[in-house]
């Protein structure tokens, strides 16, 4: 499910997004979406690494990602990340 969000960003960030959009021949919103998704992917991987090192529990990982337990279990399965 896609959710639309409006977020004010620093002018430099906005210029970077415009430059990237031009270079990659993508729209401004599409580049913002891709950057956000990349940040989210990295955060999931970072938290999963913390989980595997025994620093946090699965429930701790779920809370940090704003997910309930079931949503986290499914996210890990979808991304082939082990328990």
């Amino acid at each position: 499910m896609a959710v639309e969000i409006a977020v004010p960003v620093d002018e430099k960030v906005s210029k970077f997004v415009k430059a990237l959009a031009e270079a990659e021949r993508k729209s401004y919103p599409e580049v913002v979406r891709l950057l956000l998704e990349e940040g989210y992917r990295r955060e999931v991987e970072k938290l999963h690494a913390s989980y595997l090192r025994g620093e946090i529990t699965l429930r701790g990982m779920a809370r940090r990602l704003g997910l309930n337990y079931r949503e986290l279990y499914q996210l890990l399965a979808d991304k082939s990340l082990p328990l």
């Binding site: 989980y51 529990t57 429930r59 701790g60 309930n68 337990y69 079931r70 949503e71 328990l83």
Partner: protein, 183 residues
């Protein structure tokens, strides 16, 4: 497996991730959780029911329906896990783990006659081990069921292979070697 030495069925406390995995995969048309409930009495805290069953039903997962059926038929028992003694609660607070994690530990503290707590969560396993609460990973539980003679070696191997996608490299290979008696 039955650490109390009696002939009653083993009593297992289950964490949510192990429970969901066991309810999602099947061998020869039977869910792994059903093989387990044929052999043992399963107990879960209310929080695990919420996570595995209630949230699963809301999201439309078929395994949640199966778990609900097993709860209705009392093959899985749901129990309250009230706060324990002050020293125990002090340690719980110091670990800074989540309320659902604490519920598992409290249920283990409260339940005197359980044999193992089935858990795949690394940190939770470690804490349970430090409390001498007999944690066991789901793959090793499967090995234990085979060793008890409740399922064949072949079915045990099939179970381990179907749950392989949910485990880090090495876990399933290790349990398969245990089944073969090589380790």
């Amino acid at each position: 497996m039955n650490q109390m030495g009696s002939k009653r069925p083993p009593k297992l406390i289950f964490d949510a991730s192990s429970l969901i995995t066991a309810a999602q995969f099947n061998v020869r048309g039977q869910l792994i959780i059903e093989f387990i409930t044929d052999w043992a009495q399963i107990v879960i805290p209310e929080g695990v029911k919420t996570e595995a069953v209630d949230l699963g039903l809301r999201a439309g997962y078929p395994d949640a329906l199966e778990l609900e059926r097993l709860i209705r038929s009392r093959r899985i028992i749901v129990e309250k896990a009230p706060a324990a003694d002050p020293a125990f609660e002090t340690v719980m607070a110091a670990y800074e783990i989540e309320p659902g994690d604490v519920e598992i530990l409290r249920l283990c503290r409260k339940t005197l006659d359980y044999d193992n707590v089935v858990v795949d969560d690394r940190l939770l396993y470690l804490i349970l081990h430090r409390f001498n609460m007999h944690p066991i990973f789901l793959p090793d539980l499967i090995v234990a069921i085979v060793r008890d003679g409740a399922i064949t070696n072949e079915i045990g191997e099939q179970m381990l292979n179907v749950i392989r996608p949910r485990y880090r490299s090495g876990f399933i290979e290790h349990s398969l070697m245990m089944l073969k008696g090589a380790i």
